[in-house]
Symmetry: C3
Subunit: 675 residues, 3 copies
C-alpha cells in the first residue's frame, strides 16, 4: 500500500494557496471537505517565494498551509519547488538558463527552464530539497515527496557540452571506442581529442526535429540528456532520503514522453506517478496504453495518477469540456490500469497567466454550485466508500508488449527508409488489437523478465541490444509465442547495422532473411494474401508504408504479397523454434489483420480476455489476495448492456449483488467485486 | 477642412524624384498636370541622401523639387525621412538596429529597422524633423507634415528591455504592483528587483506568434512597444510643432494593424492618414470597416487616404491588376467612408529593388498612354470638378461597434480555450451584417462617448477596463440596446480573471451567469434554436467555435442550444435594463443569424439604412451643413439598378437631375447630391 | 575519349574502404570483379584520416587501396577529400565554420561545412590537393581527379562579408556604380563607405527562402557565393595542374542546383561530372533535361555520370526501391544523353550514420546473392561487351533551349508579380514538349553560339544581359525561329527594369509592347483562343498564372485571350524578323498548347524527331564518325513495340540484325547500331 496513513485512494491534487489570500484559503478548506479531498500537492512552483536570494529561505509560510490542511484531514504531497527557478537566480547565474536546439541562449521565462548540468541549479535545488526534508522530516501530514515537476526538454549549452564529453568518457573509455560506435570514418568525422566533440544540435548534426547526420551522436546525446536530468532528480532524492529513511519519493512523469527513458528513471523512484492529459483526439485505447506503460515502469506496481484536469485543458488548440461523467470514467480507467490515487491539476483555478483557462475543482466562480464541483465531489465520496479494497491490487497479464526508448529515439532519428514510421503508433496498433478484446497487457522493457508471459510482441524492434536476442530465443524456446515486424533486427545499441543480412540478431529466431526494404508513398499500398486460414484470418488485407522483401530460412510462409514486383514473396511467416513460435509481419498491415492475427495467437496460447463486452465498453480487472475487481468502463455516450454470464458479482458502490447482465450508463463506470 | 490652400480633395501620392534624373522629373511635372495631381509626398525615404554623416545635412535638393512642383501647382506632403535610417548610422551606431523576437540582432537592411528606444535614432530623427521644420516653416507649398512612415514591428533589444522596466515603474510604481498585475505567484515568477524583468520574446515567455506563458507580461510589452514608437513620433511632432504652430502633422497608419494602439496614437495626430492595401481576398466590407475604424480614431473627423495602389501590389503571393474602374470605385469607397484625400503609392514606378512590380500612376513605360494613367487621370479631373463640395462632410451613424486594441492583444495571447477565435473576424462579422444593409456604423473605442448611439455592439468583449461596465450600464439604462457575445467580461485590464462568475463586470447588465465555456473542433457545431420569432429570426441556426453554458439571472431566454449535453441551455438572452436592453449571444452564430438579429435590433431602435440596394451595391452618405451626398458603389462586375424612390437627387459629376432609379455600371460609382 | 587507359565506359563508383577492415576489402575486390567494376572513387571523405593535425599527413593508407584495386584491374577516381573538414580544424580554426542565413555560427558537424572564404580552408584544402598530386602524379591507376565533393550551400560570415566587398570593388570599381546598380536611392539605402555593405541574409535584406528587399544586392551575393566556391575549386585545380599537366580534373555537379552557376564553373573543369538522384516524383523527362543541361555545360562534350544509387535513396521522405530494370534503364538514359561513365554512390553500404539506408552495389548482406548485385553485375558485363563503341559519340540537336542561372536567381528573388512562377518548371515544360516527341535538344547558355540551331526557345527570359538581344536578333534575322514567353525582357543584368515598355530590349525583335502583367490566383484561368489553325493548334487552350496585356508593334496576332477585361488582346504573336520569326507566348499555356506550337515550329524548320515511339518510350541518338547509335528506353512498366521502318539496325548487345520493329520490355532498354 502506498501509505498506511490513508487507507484509501488519495484524492486531491495540486494546490497553490500562495496565489490567493487567506479568506480564499479558508473557503478552500471547506470546499475540499465537501469534495472528499484528502491530499493536496503543495509547493510545486514556490521556489521564488521560498528563496528570495542566495542565503535567505522563507519556508515558514508552508507550515501554515500544511498544518491547516492537516487539521482539516488533508495530507500533503510535498513538492520541492525546483521545477522553475527564481528570476533572481537566472539574472545572477545565467548558467542556469538553457541553450535551445538552435543555439540560442534563453532568458528567464516559461517553466522548463533549468539547465540540468548547471552547477547553480544543482547546488540550489539540492539545498532546497535538503532544507525541506530537514524541516518536515517528522511532520505527520507529509505522505509523498514530489521532486521538481515534469522534468523535460533538452539543453545544448557549453556546460552540457562539457558534461557530454565526460559522460562519453565514462561510457566508452577511449576516443577510439567513440569513433567506432559513431562510425566517424563516415564523412570524415574522426575525433582526435575529446574537446572536438560538440553537442548535436541545429548548429552541427541536426537540422530538423527528427534528423541527424550522425545517428550515433544524436542517440548518445539523447541518452546523456535523459541521464543528466535523472542525476538532478537523484541528487534531490538522495538529499531527502538521507534525512528521511522512509520517505515515499516520486516525480511526476508524462506517459509516452520521448526525451526521457522512464524505464531507467523508474528504478530511482519509490513509486511512479504521472500526469494524464489526453488530447481531444486521443483514443481511449491510447490512454489505456499509457497507463499500462506507467504501470510497467516498475514491473506492475500500482502508480499515482498525479494530475488530470477535472474539466478542460488550455494548451490544446481546441479545449473542449469533459462531458458529464467523463472525468469519473477516466479516473476509474486509470484505477483499472493500476492507479492507486486520483489527483487533479488543480484544486483552484488561477486568475492570471497561461493556465487560467485550465479546469480546476474550484472554478473561477469560486463556489460549489458548478457541474465540475458536483462531479468531483461525487467521485470523492465514492472513493471514500471504496476505502482500501482496491488499494495495492494488481493486473495479471499473459501478454507483454516490448517498448524501448532507445529504439524510439533511433527510429525517429533514422534517415530513411520512410518518414511515415512512428514507433509509438505501431505499439498502439498492436496494443489496441488486444485492448479492444479486453486482453490485459503488460508493457515491458528489454530488461524485463519475460518468463511469466505466453505471448511477447515487439513491434518494429529496430534496435536489438546486447542479450536481447538470446532472451527472446529462450522465451520462444520455452514455448512462448514471439511476434515482431518489418524493420526489426537492423542495428545494435549504437545504431550500427548488424551486417550479414537483416533481421540481424533475430534472423535465427525468425528463420528468415530480409533482402530489401521498400518504402511506399502514403497513397500506395500492397496486400497481404493469406495462403491458408488462420483463426479468423483469410483472404486479403491491405498493407503498406514499409514492405520487407524476405526469404525464408526455416520459417513457414502464411501469407504473400499480392502485387508489385515482389508479389508472391512472403509477408507473414511463422518459425517453429523449440517449443514455441516466432512470427514475422513484413509490412504494416491494416487493423483487421493485426486484430485477427493476435486473436489467433491468444487463442493458441489460451489467453482469455477479461470479459466479452460491447464495442466501446472496456473491461479491466485488478486482483488482490485472490479477490478480483471488475471494471466496466463505458466509453460510449449511450448506455450498453454487459453480459456477465455465470460470474457472481456485486456492485462495489452499493454492495448489491448483480445478475447475469448489467447496464452501464453512457460514459458510466461500474465496479464489481467478483466472488 | 484639411487645408484652405487647396479647397478640393488632395490628389496625388508618394513621389521619389531622387531615384530619377532631371529629364524624367520634367516629364513627371507634365504628366502630373495631365492627371490632375496636386499633391506629392516627398522625402519619405531620403534620410541617407539628406544626411551622409553625423554633421552634414544636404536638404537643398529638396528645395528644387518642392519649388518645381509648387510652380506646377502641386503641393507637398513633406515626410521627415526617418522611416529608414542610413547605412552609415547602422554601421557606426548599432543601437539603432533592432533585435528580433527570436533574439537575433539585425544588420542594416530592409525598411522598418530602427529600434524605437535607440538613443541614436531618437537623437537623429528629431534633429532631422527639426531641421526640416526650420527650413520649410514658411514655405507655402507644404500642406501636410508626414512623420516617418508606417511605424510598425517590435524590438527586443537591451535598450528596449531597460526602457520597459522604466515604463513599468511609471505605470505600476512598485514591484509588488507588477507582481500582482502579472500574477507572478504562478510558476514562481516573483520578481525581487526591476532588473530581473526581461523582454517577453522567444527566449523567455513567448514561443510562437500568438503565445505567452505570461499574458500580463506580454500584454504590457505590447503596450510598451506601441508607446515607444508613439514617443518617437511625438518627439518629431513636438520638434515640428514648436517651430510651426499651425502645421498639419500626421503619420500614415495601416488600418487593423495589430502592434500599435491607434486610438492612443490618433490623440497625438492632427489628422489621421492611412494606407489602404486590400489583398486579393479582402472583402469590400472589410475595407469599408477599415475606413470606418480610421475615421473612428478621431471621433468621425475626415481622414487622408495617404496610399493605395493605382493598379497592382507586389507583396501579395498573387498580384492581380485592379480591374477597369476598380481604382476609381475603391477611391470613392474611401471618400464615402470619410476620406478627404485620394493618394497613391506611388506616382512613378521604381526600376529596382522590391517594389518595382508595385503599380504607379506612371508605369515603367513612362508615358500617358496606359490604361492606368488614363484611369488615374480621369479620376483626377473628376475630383477637380467636385471641388470642395464633399470636403469636411460627415458620416452620421446610430450604431457603434466597440473595438479595443488591448482586447485584441489579450485574446490573441490567450492560452485557451480555442485558437479559432479571431477578434477582428468577429468585429467584421457584426459589421458586415450592417454593411450589407447600408446601415452606417461608427467604430468606437472604450473611451468614446456612447450617448449619441442607439445600438452599441461589443463582440467578444473579453477584457473590461475600469469604468467600461458602468458606462455600458448607463448607456443601456438610458434606452440604448447593448449587444455582446460569448467570451466577454472575463478579465480586467491586466488580463486577470474577474472571479465570482463570468461575464464578470458585465454580469449585472446582462442578467446572466456563464458557468463553463466549451470549445468545439472546427468540424463540430451546435445550433441556436429560436424559442420564438424575433423579427425575421425563427427556427434553427448553426453555431460553434465557443459555446458558453449559461444560467439566466434576470434575462429572458430567446433561443436555446439544440444539441450536446447543454441542449436546452440558453444561447441568446435579452435583459431589460432600465429603459434599454442588453443582449447576449453565447456562441458564434452563422451569418444569417447575426444579420437577422441586428436587423431586428435596428428596427426596434428605428435605425434606417442609407438606402435599399441590390446585393453588392454599397450605399454611403456624407452630410455637410444639412446637405447629403449619396454614394452608390457597385462592387459587382455587372451593372445594377438602384431604386431611389422619392429622393430628389442630382448627379454630382454632371449636375443632371436623377429620376426614381439609376443604373450603376459594373465596378462603377455614382455620387448624388440629395436635395 | 575521356581516357585512353580504359577504352570503355568506366563502371564503378564511390568506395570508402576506410570504413571497413581488411578482410572486407578483400571480399570487395572479388565482388567488384564479379560485377565488372573498373573504377572506384576513393578518398572523398578522408580528410580527417589523411591529416590528424596541422603538420601531420597520413596518405600512405591510400597507396594500399589504390594499388590493390589497380592490381585487380580497377582504376581510381581520386578525390581530394576536402568536401568535409576535420573536427580538429573546426575546433582550432573556427573561421572554417559557416554562418547560416539566419546569422547563426555553425559548430562542427554535417557535411557541407566549410566557409569558402575561410583562410584556413583555402590554405589546407590546397595543401592537401598539392600533396595528393605530388604523391600520385605518376601513378598509373589514377584516371580522374575529383576535387572536393558536391560544392554547395552558402555562408554569411564576417570573412564572406569582407570578401563580398572586395568582389564588389572588382566588379563595380566605385561605390557610385554599386549604388546605381542596386538602385539604393530606393528606401534610403545609399552606401557612403564600402564597409557599410553587409551580407544580405535574414538579419538584413532577406526574410524567407525566395525573398529580398534588394534584388540587386541578393543577386550579387548569390553570384559572389558561387564565385567564392569556384575559387576554392580553382585553387585546388591549379595545385594539381601545376604538378600533373595532363590530369583530368572534375568535381561532381548536381544538375539543376540553384546556388552555383555551373556554366561558369564548367569553364574551369576538364570534364563535367554529375550526381543523378531523381526523387520519387521526378518525371523521366526532367532527368533527361538535367542530363542535357550537364552536357550543355561544355557545349556537348560527353560527361561523367559520377553518382547514382543502385537501388534506393535515404534522404527522400519515402525511399522506394528502384524497380527491376530501372537502374539499368536510367543508366542507359544517362548514356543516351551524353554520359560516358556509369558510376554509383556507393560500392558498399555504410553501417552507421545518415546514409546507411542508401543503396549500394554491395548491400548490408555483404554478398553477391542479391537482386541489386545481380542487376549491377549484369550491367557491368554489358558495358564490357559494348567496349568503346559509344565513347565520345555526340548528340546532334537543331533545337536549343536557353537557360541562365542569373535569370533563375532574379526570378526567384523577385517580389511580385506571382509566387507561382518557377523558372525551371517553365524550362521543363518546353523541354518536355520536345522530349515527348524524341526531338533532341541542347541546353545552352546566354554566351553560347546559336548559329548552328534552327529553333531557339528562351522561356521567361526575364533578364536580358548585354549583347543577348543583339545575338537573338541576328539568330532570327538569319532565318532562325525564336520563341519566348510572358515576363521576358523586363530587366538588365542588375535586375533593373528596362524602361520605355516591356519587353525592353526584346521589343524590337518581338514586335510587341506589353503594357501590363496580370497575375492570377492558382484557381483562376484565362484561355488562348486561336484565330487560325497553326499546325495542329486550333480552338481554345487554357492559360493562366501570368497574363501579359500586350499591343502589337509589327507582330501578327495568332491567338487572343478568351475572357476577362483583356479578352481579345493578343496572347500569341509572331513577328517576321529578317529571314526568321520571333514568337511570343503571353501567358502560361497548357501542355497541349505548348506541344502543338513547338511541333509546328519544328515542322516549319524541318526538325525531325529521332524516331516516332509509343508513349513512355524514349528514343535517343548518339553519333560518332558518321555511325549512329539508337537508344530505345521504355519507361513504361509494360513492354512496347517500336516501329523502326526501313532503318537498318542491329542490337549492340548481341550484334543480331533487327527487323522493321522491335519489342522493348517494360523498364527495358535496347541499343541499336544504325547502318
Amino acid at each position: 500500500m502506498i501509505s498506511n496513513k490513508l487507507p484509501k485512494m488519495f484524492y486531491g491534487g495540486d494546490y497553490n494557496p500562495e496565489q490567493w489570500d487567506h479568506g480564499t484559503h479558508l473557503e478552500d478548506l471547506d470546499l475540499f471537505k465537501q469534495a472528499g479531498i484528502d491530499i493536496a500537492t503543495l509547493n510545486v512552483f514556490s521556489w521564488a517565494r521560498n528563496q528570495p536570494d542566495e542565503v535567505t529561505y522563507h519556508l515558514e509560510w508552508l507550515d501554515g498551509y500544511i498544518n491547516s490542511l492537516y487539521e482539516s484531514g488533508i495530507y500533503t504531497c510535498l513538492a520541492t519547488s525546483t521545477g522553475a527557478h527564481p528570476a533572481w537566480m537566472a539574472t545572477r547565474y545565467p548558467d542556469i538558463l538553457r541553450v535551445e536546439k538552435d543555439g540560442r541562449k534563453r532568458k528567464f521565462g516559461g517553466r522548463h527552464n533549468s539547465c540540468p548540468n548547471s552547477p547553480t541549479y544543482r547546488h540550489y535545488s539540492v539545498e532546497m530539497a535538503r532544507r525541506l526534508a530537514e524541516r518536515y522530516k517528522e511532520h505527520p501530514a507529509i505522505l509523498v515527496w514530489h521532486i521538481s515537476n515534469e522534468y523535460g526538454g533538452e539543453c545544448y549549452c557549453d556546460n552540457c557540452e562539457k558534461a557530454f564529453r565526460v559522460w562519453l568518457k565514462q561510457r566508452y573509455g577511449t576516443l577510439d571506442a567513440v569513433n567506432k560506435a559513431w562510425n566517424t570514418a563516415f564523412w570524415g568525422h574522426t575525433f582526435y581529442d575529446w574537446d572536438e566533440i560538440v553537442v548535436p544540435d541545429h548548429r552541427s548534426e541536426e537540422w530538423g526535429e527528427n534528423s541527424s547526420s550522425f545517428q550515433g551522436i544524436s542517440l548518445d546525446y539523447t541518452r546523456f540528456n535523459s541521464d543528466s536530468m535523472l542525476e538532478c532528480y537523484q541528487l534531490e532524492y538522495d538529499a531527502i532520503r538521507s534525512l528521511i529513511p522512509d520517505a515515499l519519493i516520486t516525480t511526476n512523469l508524462m506517459g509516452f514522453y520521448k526525451p526521457l527513458d522512464y524505464f531507467k528513471w523508474a528504478k530511482q523512484m519509490d513509486i511512479v506517478s504521472w500526469d494524464n492529459y489526453p488530447g481531444l483526439n486521443t483514443p481511449v485505447s491510447f490512454t489505456a496504453l499509457a497507463h499500462d506503460l506507467m504501470r510497467g515502469l516498475k514491473d506492475g506496481d500500482p502508480f499515482m495518477l498525479m494530475e488530470q484536469t477535472p474539466s478542460q485543458q488550455n494548451w490544446q488548440p481546441y479545449n473542449s469540456l469533459k462531458r458529464p461523467g467523463v472525468m469519473r470514467l477516466w479516473s476509474y480507467q486509470a484505477v483499472a490500469h493500476g492507479a492507486d490515487t486520483v489527483m487533479f491539476f488543480q484544486l483552484r483555478r488561477s486568475i492570471g497567466a497561461c493556465e487560467k483557462f485550465h479546469g480546476a475543482v474550484i472554478e473561477h466562480a469560486g463556489h460549489a454550485n458548478t457541474r465540475v464541483f458536483r462531479e468531483t465531489s461525487a467521485l470523492g465520496h465514492e472513493l471514500q466508500k471504496l476505502g482500501d479494497q482496491l488499494l495495492d491490487s494488481r493486473i495479471e497479464a499473459s501478454v507483454a508488449i516490448l517498448f524501448d526508448w532507445d529504439n524510439w529515439w533511433a527510429i525517429d532519428k533514422s534517415s530513411g527508409p520512410t518518414v511515415a514510421l512512428q514507433y509509438v503508433e505501431q505499439i498502439h496498433k498492436y496494443y489496441k488489437a488486444l485492448y479492444n478484446r479486453n486482453v490485459q497487457v503488460d508493457i515491458v522493457s528489454v530488461d524485463s523478465d519475460l518468463s511469466g508471459y505466453k505471448l511477447v510482441i515487439a513491434p518494429v524492434l529496430y534496435m536489438v541490444k546486447p542479450g536481447l536476442a538470446a532472451k527472446l530465443e529462450q522465451f520462444t524456446d520455452n514455448g512462448g509465442t514471439f511476434v515482431t515486424t518489418f524493420f526489426s533486427g537492423i542495428v545494435n545499441e549504437h545504431d550500427l547495422v548488424t551486417t550479414g543480412g537483416y533481421p540481424g540478431e533475430l534472423r535465427k529466431l525468425l528463420g528468415i532473411w530480409v533482402e530489401e526494404i521498400d518504402a511506399l508513398l502514403p497513397s500506395m499500398h500492397n496486400s497481404i494474401e493469406m495462403k491458408e486460414t488462420i483463426g479468423e484470418l483469410s483472404g486479403s488485407y491491405q498493407c503498406g508504408m514499409l514492405c520487407d522483401l524476405l526469404h525464408t530460412e526455416g520459417a513457414d510462409v502464411l501469407a504473400e504479397y499480392g502485387t508489385d514486383f515482389y508479389k508472391g514473396m512472403p509477408v507473414l511467416t511463422r518459425h517453429a523454434f523449440g517449443q514455441g513460435e516466432a512470427w514475422y509481419i513484413a509490412s504494416d498491415g491494416e487493423e483487421d489483420f493485426v486484430a485477427g492475427l493476435l486473436k489467433h495467437l491468444c487463442q493458441q496460447q489460451n489467453i482469455e480476455p477479461v470479459l466479452d463486452t460491447p464495442a466501446g465498453v472496456e473491461a479491466g480487472r485488478r486482483v488482490k489476495n485472490g479477490q478480483a475487481f471488475l471494471f466496466l468502463l463505458n466509453h460510449n455516450a449511450e448506455a450498453a448492456t454487459v453480459e456477465l454470464g455465470s460470474l457472481q458479482t456485486s456492485n462495489m458502490l452499493d454492495n448489491q449483488p448483480v445478475g447475469s447482465s448489467i447496464e452501464v450508463p453512457g460514459n458510466g463506470t461500474i465496479i464489481l467485486s467478483v466472488k
